[in-house]
């Protein structure tokens, strides 16, 4: 009797513990999957991916993941993606998904039209509510650098580790086929901004910072975004991402100067060639606070993504800014309980610290030559791509 009860219990509990939500449908270079409490392992094509497993990509690496409802996630180099929640009922044609992207570029594409369910993507600055759509996003340094080239956001200083740029790609109102126009709701800093037109972007420079947009992303910004997301294709087309794609993630200190830094010319903090703007350019913007936006939990698996912060931060939540890079009311606030690592300390990259050392294997350093074949890659570099066009 007892053995039957045990078997019945297992039948009920095992699928919940390892619920497959999708498969890896395309893998380029160094991509790993980290199960909770385990070390990351290389991902193979068609590998099953379950809830709570973190996808990690290395330099010049990329993964496409198909979910059971044929929705798609693509992540570019140096990205971190986890599917936290996923329910798909083919009989009712309903899907509900919750994902978290803490670093890197991503594209989400809704699959078949569903009748119900909610989809959300969490980022370090807030949450994206997805209603049947295709959207691109970038978290981190590339987001800050792309935003630095946009007229609406070029004067806004962004956190190189948490700055987030989100772009609705479609479908728009004039779409064809069996698809509905897409809408995204971006909730950050206590505000929600709805985007319902393709190529409209929203930028949040740091957790608790102003929600800027929606504004039209420029063609050059779009091309940089594509270059970040699709490195092999970008190489083929001669597109340049803001940050050198050979570079494995490491926070840059040169784009996040602490307040009070005086430049050689004697001007105020952050002035000079810093492409990410300077504190104070956005009225009342005294720099980013510590911690994450309300409702966005800190991610213990990624200690390296919490950057060093200046001693002061905005206390009040800024308004959504539409059509004008307006003000975010900022006041000094007490330092949060969580103490982020010092800026000068080396990043605790979960990717680099985790065996097996795939990047040490010369075969794994190979790069696509444009025909799906592999060739020896170049040595990792540091710093941003020198050929990146200067911010306007």
């Amino acid at each position: 009797m007892g053995k039957y009860l045990f078997a019945a219990a297992m039948a009920l509990t095992v699928p919940a513990q390892a619920q497959v939500v999708g498969i890896s449908s395309a893998v380029q270079n160094d991509v790993r999957l980290k199960k909770p409490g385990a070390l990351p392992r290389p991902v193979a094509l068609r590998q099953r991916i379950s809830i709570a497993e973190m996808i990690q990509t290395g330099a010049k690496s990329q993964l496409q993941m198909l979910l059971l409802d044929k929705s798609m996630f693509t992540v570019g180099p140096n990205a971190r993606l986890t599917i936290d929640r996923y329910v798909y009922d083919p009989a009712r044609n309903a899907r509900s998904m919750g994902a978290t992207v803490t670093r890197g570029a991503f594209r989400f594409l809704s699959g078949r039209r569903t009748q119900g369910g909610t989809s959300t993507i969490n980022t370090p600055v807030g949450t994206i509510g997805v209603r049947g759509t295709m959207l691109d996003g970038v978290v981190g340094e590339n987001a800050a650098l792309i935003a630095a080239g946009e007229a609406m956001t070029r004067r806004v200083r962004g956190d190189p580790e948490t700055a987030t740029l989100i772009v609705l790609r479609g479908p728009g109102r004039a779409t064809q086929g069996d698809v509905s126009p897409g809408v995204i709701d971006i909730t950050a800093s206590g505000r929600t901004v709805t985007v319902d037109r393709p190529m409209q972007a929203v930028y949040v420079p740091y957790p608790g910072g102003p929600v800027i947009g929606p504004f039209p992303l420029s063609n050059s910004g779009l091309m940089q975004l594509q270059a970040v997301l699709f490195p092999a294709l970008a190489q083929r087309l001669g597109l340049q991402p803001p940050v050198d794609p050979d570079q494995t993630f490491a926070p840059r200190s040169d784009i996040w100067p602490p307040p009070g830094t005086v430049q050689e010319d004697g001007r105020g903090p952050g002035r000079g060639p810093n492409p990410l703007g300077r504190p104070g350019d956005l009225n009342g913007d005294a720099g980013p606070p510590r911690g994450f936006a309300p409702g966005v939990p800190a991610l213990p698996d990624l200690p390296g993504i919490q950057p060093g912060r200046p001693a002061q931060r905005p206390q009040t939540r800024g308004p959504a800014v539409q059509g004008n890079a307006g003000a975010d009311s900022a006041q000094p606030a007490p330092i949060g309980a969580a103490s982020p690592p010092a800026k000068d300390s080396p990043p605790s990259s979960d990717f680099e610290a985790s065996p097996p050392p795939v990047r040490d294997d010369p075969a794994k350093q190979a790069q696509p030559d444009g025909n799906g074949q592999q060739q020896t890659g170049s040595q990792p570099k540091t710093g941003k791509n020198p050929s990146r066009p200067a911010p306007r």
Binding site: Y88, D89, P171, P198, N219, M223, G238
Partner: protein, 128 residues
């Protein structure tokens, strides 16, 4: 086997079916495996994308082409079709930007005409 055991076996089987809906329905994971198998080369990948377009599943066609382009970034025909799809999804700026980035204009007239129809008039890439 005792009647009691048979009843227990039946209960266990029922529980397993409830816990794993995939057992009782078509296997969605197997469908995904088949999709991946459609993009082993540019010809089959474009064909699979066109099949999805024919079924009105434009976003699935986009995903198919992006999967293809990850492995075969020189598949310009796939990129041109991808650009056309973006335009059909009302992302005309994105589609036209992809066409502008193309280095080669060596496409079949039908493919170029399809892109023009979706994205509007635009200069054809001049390179070979």
């Amino acid at each position: 086997m005792a009647v009691r055991d048979r009843i227990l076996f039946s209960l266990i089987a029922a529980a397993a079916c409830v816990a794993s809906p995939a057992f009782a329905q078509s296997d969605p994971v197997a469908e995904l495996d088949a999709l991946v198998g459609d993009t082993v080369d540019p010809v089959s990948g474009v064909a699979a994308a066109r099949a999805a377009i024919g079924a009105g599943e434009l976003t699935i066609a986009v995903a198919t082409l992006e999967r293809l382009l990850m492995a075969f970034p020189r598949a310009d025909a796939a990129l041109l079709l991808h650009a056309s799809l973006l335009c059909r999804l009302d992302d005309r700026a994105g589609g036209r930007a992809e066409v502008a980035a193309l280095k080669s204009g060596l496409f079949p007239e039908s493919a170029w005409g399809e892109a023009i129809a979706a994205c509007g008039a635009m200069p054809r890439p001049a390179g070979n």
